[in-house]
């Protein structure tokens, strides 16, 4: 019983956040366009058609009533129909999620591993020339706008060197995807033995993954470095040195486990960013994920689509932070108490 209560409080708090997010989106949506009827009909349509559509959309009711209807639909999992695609938002989102997940998974794994390696190396060799070079790269990664990195990578590797394919999405134009098993194109190609296809897909992934990976790598490397430096300076590390514990054990066990705590928080934020569809990265590489869907939706004032995406992002955020809390208590005994 004792353990259940805080979890219940957490879940209630999370639901409150999600409710707040969708409410804020609803309000913003109504400010942007109090009457989205124009998005459905041609400007020449007569008043009767307009009134019919308005009634159909529930726009003839008062704003509070519309809000109530909106929440009721939401609870039933009905996110409405996208103005621009004409499809239910739910199916639009689910059909685009695999692309985002595939891109984000590789970028997060690669960026995190590299970030840890660089951060630890930098901390252990603090003040050395290598440390300075690595820090310089990290600051560059943090200060470079994603969309610009993407464009420059395209110019270097696609236009100048011809090493990477152009920005046309998950597969070259005219190439059919493998049968769906995991929805990860590379994995599915390999599972069905189509190695040529897998190579194509991997080549398409390379630049977007690197672009997004930089956004994962840089903050992780920075956090790992400073947390590691702080941990190495702690009294308990001095004790370990005094007790003749081998250097490697000190770095990779004694200090590392203490480093994980601050880094996990950063990692949660970065994962949330990557999996909610890095909007601009997907845009530049014509990646058919949820980020690009959201970008299109905003540019076309497609509210049901925006709502759906925002809801997805909020749930993602809440779930990631719930997992973070659990991870925290499994690493830090002080939180458990």
């Amino acid at each position: 019983m004792d353990r259940a209560r805080p979890i219940a409080v957490r879940v209630a708090g999370s639901l409150a956040v999600i409710l707040g997010v969708v409410t804020l989106t609803f309000v913003l949506a109504r400010i942007v366009s109090p009457d989205p009827t124009n998005l459905y009909v041609s400007p020449q349509a007569d008043l009767e058609t307009r009134a019919a559509i308005r009634a159909n959309l529930g726009l003839d009711k008062s704003i509070p009533a519309q809000y109530g209807q909106f929440l009721a639909d939401l609870v039933r999992g009905r996110l409405g129909t996208s103005f621009s695609t004409g499809q239910p938002v739910t199916s639009d989102l689910t059909s685009r999620l695999p692309a985002t997940f595939e891109l984000a998974t590789y970028a997060v794994i690669g960026g995190t591993l590299l970030g840890f390696a660089v951060g630890i190396l930098s901390a252990v060799l603090r003040g050395s020339v290598l440390d300075k070079i690595l820090r310089f790269l990290t600051v560059g990664g943090l200060a470079m706008p994603q969309f610009w990195i993407g464009l420059m990578l395209l110019w270097i590797f696609f236009v100048k060197m011809g090493l990477a394919p152009g920005p046309v999405g998950r597969l070259p134009i005219g190439v059919n995807p493998p049968p769906r098993i995991t929805s990860f194109v590379v994995v599915d190609s390999l599972l069905t033995g189509r190695f040529g296809l897998a190579r194509h897909a991997a080549a398409q992934l390379a630049l977007p993954v690197v672009t997004l990976g930089i956004a994962v790598f840089a903050p992780i490397a920075r956090t790992v470095r400073s947390a590691m430096i702080e941990a190495l300076r702690a009294d308990y590390i001095r004790t370990a040195i005094a007790m003749n514990i081998p250097k490697r054990t000190i770095w990779f066990r004694y200090a590392f486990k203490n480093v994980l705590l601050p880094v996990l928080t950063m990692l949660a934020g970065v994962i949330g960013f990557a999996f909610s569809g890095a909007v601009l990265v997907e845009g530049i590489f014509a990646w058919p994920g949820v980020g690009q869907y959201a970008l299109d939706a905003i540019q076309q004032s497609d509210f049901p689509a925006i709502q759906g995406f925002v809801l997805y992002a909020a749930i993602l955020y809440v779930v990631i932070y719930l997992i973070l809390d659990l991870a925290y208590s499994s690493i830090d005994p002080r939180v458990r108490a």
Binding site: P145, R238, T239, N244
Partner: protein, 574 residues
């Protein structure tokens, strides 16, 4: 502890990177204020040159699709991007700090509501929320500033709230309240100014991020009026040309943005890094000081006659000197410290705070704090000079033959590993035993230091131990490697008086039954009189007097020793 303070008090040097960043930002500020002086062409006029001209002497950064000069436009855009970034950061800083201070200081329902609101804002992907809000309120410079500052506010609220919460109960705040200051005055005059450094560091990092968000909005066409010069929209304009090879249209505005963002970042990163010795400047100082010390020592070593250590002494400290690196070389703190530790005897090093006793003891095992530089002397342990081939020599004796017991036991144990794990690791690092054997030894060790239920305690974490129990664990940790010499650095400071006596008695018993040599660092002469045979008196980094306990207590030769004794008798009498 005492001797560590000079290290912490060392001058906080501003890292080079901060100056570099500030320099670039300053240049950018000047340029963006005086764009018209520098721009060779009108930035907003098309056709000042041929379309898609590559960078040349006439068009430094080339021209774009409509033949505008990219160099002039990049300069002109600096005004927009720099201006928006700066305004948004200032607004977010002021509002966020005020809200955070109120929430942290007054707490209650205001705090709860505010924090929930902030959480909602932060649950949005930042760029998406910015896009939505700009779409809602319309584009334009003012709207972009407002939207971007709203996005920044939650960070300031959280940061300031945490700062205020951590300092609210500090003594100076309490004191300010006690002498009758109004709460608001305590908040604005006493608490906030003390939180400024992290705040300014954060603002700078925030500015780096804001510059990118502003450009991102411009990139997707949601920023300021389309067509006007802004880095993000310039990059967007060149997007299609990239694929046909005209990289400069997007390339140069991006480099400008990168420069601005990175400069802000360098300032913030440098300011938030508080560690001495980590900055470029002090790393250089350290190296220079070390070099100077090395040459001095080589000369001194050549001049010194060969000393023959007395065989009954396990450790001989001979002429040990050193200090901390400062701008003018090494500032000495230990002067020609010499003493010996007799085998099987408990020797006390006594002295007041700042006398160099802890520093001397830590130096025996090469654990002096970072920044300490040895300028001379020998440490002869069992006939071998430890300093001759450090750090390898320490590896052979540290832990295995010399063990340390630190002052703050709970801080000296790793918080995320069980006590049992740490004991087993320490045992296996120094003795050739299997994990199971090490486990048995660890349990036996806990029993020896009189910890009840040792098997259950093995599975517990340091925070589950009281101060006295933690110090017993520390003792078990030090003894598990079966050392010959045990150095105890104020082992009972910070414990309750009754527990102090228990722990001290345990230490004396263990030392006696094991036949250990012990070195006790303390300022408690009462303890010394009861437990030690030899005494070393230190003051201001110098050894004032050494001798047997009886001689020191009955017939002190040094006036300082006499004064120390008189003072402690006064305390006892009272």
């Amino acid at each position: 502890m005492s001797t560590l303070q000079p290290a912490r008090r060392r001058r906080r040097s501003t890292p080079l990177s901060v100056w570099l960043g500030a320099g670039i930002v300053a240049v950018m500020a000047v340029v963006s204020a005086t764009t018209r002086l520098w721009a060779p062409y009108d930035p907003d006029t098309a056709g000042v040159g041929p379309p898609y001209a590559a960078p040349s002497r006439d068009y430094l950064f080339g021209t774009d699709r409509v033949g505008s000069d990219v160099f002039s436009r990049t300069l002109s855009a600096a005004t927009t991007d720099f201006g928006i970034t700066l305004s948004a950061v200032v607004i977010a800083f002021v509002i966020g700090t005020a809200l955070g201070a109120l929430a942290g200081f007054y707490g209650g329902i205001l705090d709860t509501i505010l924090m929930r609101l902030m959480e909602i804002v932060q649950a949005f992907p930042a760029l998406l929320l910015a896009m939505l809000m700009v779409a809602a309120v319309g584009s334009g410079i003012v709207n972009v500033i407002v939207v971007v500052s709203i996005l920044g506010i939650p960070n300031y609220v959280r940061l300031v709230r945490a700062e205020i919460l951590s300092k609210k109960n500090w003594q100076f705040a309490e004191a300010a309240k006690v002498i009758g200051n109004r709460p608001s005055r305590v908040l604005f005059r006493h608490l906030l100014p003390n939180s400024m450094r992290p705040l300014i560091a954060f603002s700078s990092i925030n500015a780096s991020w804001v510059a990118i968000i502003v450009a991102s909005l411009g990139f997707i066409g949601l920023g300021i009026e389309p067509g006007s010069a802004e880095w993000g929209s310039m990059i967007s304009r060149g997007q299609d040309s990239i694929l046909s090879g005209e990289w400069w249209i997007s390339g140069f505005p991006g480099i400008a943005l990168l420069l601005l963002s990175a400069s802000f970042y360098l300032i913030g990163d440098g300011l938030s890094e508080d560690s001495p010795g980590s900055s470029v400047l002090s790393a250089r100082l350290l190296r220079r000081a070390r070099r100077g010390a090395a040459t001095a020592m080589a000369t001194a070593a050549a001049a010194r006659p060969e000393s023959t250590p007395a065989p009954d002494r396990i450790l001989e400290v001979i002429g040990f000197s050193g200090g901390f690196a400062g701008p003018e070389g090494v500032r000495p703190v230990l002067h020609d410290v010499s003493f010996g530790l007799r085998r099987g005897v408990m020797t006390a090093i006594v002295g007041e705070t700042g006398s160099g006793k802890t520093l001397s003891a830590l130096s025996i095992v090469g654990l002096a704090p970072e920044g300490f530089i040895r300028t001379g002397g020998q440490l002869v342990f069992d006939g071998v000079d430890l300093l001759a081939d450090e750090p390898a020599s320490y590896g052979r004796v540290r832990g295995t033959r010399i063990s340390l017991v630190f002052q703050d036991a709970r801080g000296s144990l790793n918080p995320v590993f069980t006590v049992g794990n740490q004991l087993i690791d320490a045992c296996r690092a120094n003795r050739k035993v299997s994990r199971n054997e090490a486990r048995a030894i660890a349990i036996a060790m806990l029993e020896r230091v009189q910890i009840p239920e040792p098997e259950r305690r093995m599975r517990q974490y340091p925070h589950e131990f009281s101060g006295g129990m933690a110090q017993r664990v520390m003792l078990a940790l030090a003894l598990i490697s079966e050392p010959e010499l045990l150095v105890l650095d104020e082992p009972t400071t910070g414990l309750d008086v009754t527990i102090q006596a228990d722990v001290m008695k345990l230490i004396v018993d263990l030392v006696r039954t094991e036949g250990l040599t012990a070195c006790l660092i303390t300022h408690d002469l009462g303890v010394v009189a009861e437990t030690c045979q030899d005494v070393v008196v230190m003051r201001d980094g110098r050894v004032r007097e050494t001798g047997s306990c009886q001689q020191i207590f009955t017939n002190p030769q040094d006036p300082y020793t006499a004064a120390l004794l008189a003072a402690s008798r006064l305390v006892e009498a009272a």
